[in-house]
Assembly symmetry: C2
C-alpha cells in the first residue's frame, strides 16, 4: 500500500459525484410545505391571470378618450355612476360622460379602457373632475397579461422561494410535484470520538462532524439520518455503512479517510462496492474518498471538522444538488484581498476569509483549528491553475 | 377622511416596527434541531479544545531539536518505538533518539514537541529517516489553542449555520438556548379572494398572499399561522384579527390597506389598538399600515402580491429580525445598471432587476403583474434622497 494518495482534480471529483448521484424520484406535496423544495414538474397557469381586466389603482374607470386635454385648469367632468364592488361578477358599464369608482384590483367596467388615479381627481357630489388625461390601458392589467392560460410559469429544477410559492398559489397549484428529499446517512468513525454529551478524556474529542454534516445536508434540502459513532474496526464500520446504505440514498462517513494502514473506510467501501477516488488535489480535504456501494454514493470525509467542511462545500454540495436535480446555489461576492494568498499550482485551495467593507482578509491558522470556521465569513477558492492571489486583487468569496 | 395618506419614510417605518417588536422569549432545544435558530445565550467552551496536544498530520512525533539540519542528503535517523493509538489516554514517551508514529488527531507523546509529516520520512525496519527538519510546535495544535475553557465561542444573537452547529458540538453544547420562533398570524382580506384550490370566477382572484407571506416568514425562522380569507366586512375582519392576536406574536393582514372608505383594516386596528403609520414613502407598497393591538404588532400589507412582497422585504423583515433578536441578513451584490432607473426624491423605490454577468437590468412593468416576482433575481433600492440611478452606475442588488 503506497504512502501517497493518487490525487485527482476537484473538477474530476465533482464530475464523479454528479455521475454517481442517484435520483430519489419525485412526490407531490401541499404548496405550503414546498418552501425550498425543487420542482420536479413544471407549474403552468390553469387559467388566464388575471382572469379579467383589472385596475391597479384606486380611481375612476373611464373611456380614456373622454379625458383628452384634461388639466388642473380645465378638468374633464364625468358623472360618477357608483362604484365597482370587489369580487363581483358584474362590474357595470361606463357610458358616455360617466365613470365608475373602482378600487385597486377591481374589475374594469364595460366601456372603460383606463383608470384615473383618485389623486388626480376631485369628486363634487356625483360629479368627478379629472385633472389629468389617461392613455388607453393606463393603470389597467388586461386579462391574461400576467400569465396566459397553459403557459409554463415555473420550470422544473427551480428551487421554490417564497416568491415562487406565491406565484404558484396564484395559478392554482395547491399541490406541486417536487424532487423527494434525499436521505443522507451520516456515520462518524474514530476510536478517539465521544458523543457530544460526554466530556472527552485524554486523547479523546467530541464527534462534531455528525452535527456539522447533518446541519449541512439539512440546509441543502436533504434529510440527515444519524448512525452515530463507530469504532475504527473494519467489521463494525462495515456493518454501520451497510445499515446506512439500507436506509439512505447516500452515505457520508467522516474520519478514517487518511492514507494510513489503520484507516478502514476505503477498505470497507471496497468490500461493499468500489472506491472510485481516494485523494483530491484540494487543501484542506486531500484524503477524501469517493466510492459507490449498492448503486449509492459513499463519501469518506476527513476527520477534522474544518477540513470536512471544505469537502462538504467543494464536493458534497454538488452531489446533493445533483440528487435534488438542481444546481448548487453558492452565493459569492467580490472582495479585494488585504493579504497575499500563496498556493501550489496543481492543487485547489480553499482559504477561509473574513469580510469587512468589501475587503477579504485570509484567516490563516493551523489546519486543525475549529475556530476558523466561526471566525470567517466565506471561502476563497484558488484554482489548481493558479499560484495564488496577490494583495489588492479582486477575488470571488463563496459565502457560507 | 382625507383621500391622501400621510406617508412616513421607510426608515421611520423600520424604526417603528423595531420599537414595537415583542420578544417571544427563549427556549432550550437539542443542537440537532437548532439550525438557523438565533442564540439567546452565549455558548462557552466547557473544557480546553483540544483537551491535549494533538497532531494535525499523519507522521512521526519527535523532539524538534533532533531534526535540526536534516535533509534529503543527510537525513536524521530516529528509532520508531511504535505508534500512538487514537483515543488512548497513554500516548507514550519519546526519549532521546526515538520517535513514535502518530496519526492525524492523535495525542502528542511526552517528550515530543513536533510532528514530521510521513511524506518527509522513510521507514526502514524500526529506523525512520527524517528528510526535513521541523520547528517546535510544527504540525501540532496545543491544548486549549483552539478554544480555552470558559471562553465565549458563539455570542448570543448569532444565527446558527452548520459551521456554528459543528463548533457548538465540539464544545459540548448538546442543547442550546435560542430565541423562541415567533408565531406570525396571517390574514387575507378582500371580497375578491378565493382559496387557491378554487377556480376564480369573474372579478375574483386566488389568495396568493397567504402563501407568499407564510413562506416568507418561514424562511425568516418564524412560524406562520394561517387564518384564511376574511370578507372585507368590519365585524368579520375584527374577529379574525382578534383571534390571530390571541394565538400569535404578531399579525400580518394583507388587503384592505388602501386609502379607500371601504378598506377596513386600519379602522379595525384602530378599534383593537392603535394605528401608528398608514402610508410609507415606498413604491410599491405605499398603503402599508403599521399598528399595535394588545401589545402586538399588526401590519397591513398591500393586497397585490408583488407590492406585498416589497413591503415584506423592506419593512416586515426588520420586524421579524427584531422579534428574533438578531439583524436582518440581506445578501447584496454589486452590479452595473444596463438602464436608467428614474425615481422621485422623497420616496424610496424598490425596483426589481434581473442579473446576468455582473449587470442588473430593471424589470419594469405594471405594478399589478406577478410575473416580475419570478422573472427577477433581486431588488435595487433607490433611497428617498436620490432621483434615481443612471445606466452604467454600480448599485447594490438585494438578492431575494
Amino acid at each position: 500500500m503506497s504512502l501517497f494518495l493518487e490525487v485527482v482534480s476537484v473538477s474530476e471529483a465533482v464530475e464523479t459525484v454528479r455521475r454517481i448521484a442517484p435520483l430519489p424520484g419525485c412526490e407531490e406535496v401541499p404548496l405550503e410545505d414546498a418552501l425550498h423544495r425543487v420542482l420536479a414538474r413544471d407549474v403552468r397557469a390553469d387559467i388566464d391571470i388575471p382572469g379579467f381586466d383589472r385596475s391597479t389603482v384606486d380611481g375612476y374607470a373611464v373611456a380614456a378618450a373622454e379625458t383628452t386635454g384634461a388639466s388642473e385648469a380645465i378638468p374633464a367632468m364625468l358623472q360618477c355612476q357608483g362604484r365597482v364592488g370587489m369580487g363581483t361578477a358584474d362590474a357595470g358599464v361606463v357610458s358616455r360622460g360617466t365613470c365608475l369608482y373602482v378600487p385597486t384590483g377591481g374589475a374594469l367596467p364595460g366601456g372603460a379602457d383606463a383608470v384615473v388615479m383618485i389623486e388626480h381627481t376631485e369628486q363634487i357630489g356625483d360629479d368627478v373632475l379629472i385633472h389629468r388625461p389617461v392613455a388607453p390601458g393606463e393603470n389597467v392589467v388586461f386579462r391574461g397579461e400576467d400569465f396566459g392560460a397553459g403557459r409554463v410559469i415555473l420550470e422544473r429544477g427551480r428551487v421554490l422561494s417564497p416568491r415562487e410559492i406565491g406565484v404558484a398559489a396564484a395559478v392554482g397549484a395547491d399541490r406541486v410535484g417536487v424532487a423527494k428529499m434525499p436521505k443522507i446517512g451520516i456515520v462518524s468513525t474514530g476510536n478517539e470520538l465521544v458523543p457530544v454529551v460526554e466530556t472527552p478524556g485524554p486523547g479523546e474529542v467530541r464527534d462534531a462532524n455528525s452535527y456539522l454534516a447533518g446541519a449541512f445536508v439539512t440546509e441543502r434540502g436533504c434529510h440527515p439520518v444519524y448512525f452515530g459513532i463507530v469504532r475504527d474496526e473494519r467489521a463494525v464500520l462495515k456493518r454501520a455503512i451497510a445499515s446506512a446504505l439500507d436506509r439512505c440514498d447516500a452515505v457520508l462517513v467522516s474520519g478514517g479517510s487518511s492514507k494510513d494502514d489503520r484507516d478502514n473506510t476505503a477498505a470497507v467501501i471496497a468490500e461493499l462496492g468500489k472506491v472510485l477516488i481516494h485523494g483530491i488535489a484540494l487543501a484542506p480535504g486531500k484524503p477524501t474518498i469517493i466510492g459507490t456501494a449498492r448503486g449509492k454514493p459513499v463519501i469518506g470525509l476527513p476527520g477534522h471538522p474544518a477540513s470536512a467542511f471544505v469537502v462538504l462545500v467543494a464536493v458534497v454540495d454538488h452531489l446533493l444538488a445533483a440528487m435534488r436535480q438542481t444546481a448548487v446555489s453558492w452565493r459569492t461576492i467580490p472582495a479585494r484581498l488585504t493579504q497575499n494568498i500563496p498556493s501550489a499550482r496543481g492543487r485547489e485551495d480553499y482559504v477561509r476569509v473574513s469580510l469587512s467593507g468589501g475587503e477579504a482578509t485570509p484567516v490563516f491558522g493551523k489546519s486543525g483549528l475549529l475556530n476558523t470556521l466561526v471566525q470567517s465569513e466565506g471561502l476563497v477558492r484558488v484554482p489548481a491553475s493558479s499560484e495564488g492571489f496577490e494583495v489588492g486583487e479582486e477575488v470571488e468569496v463563496i459565502l457560507w
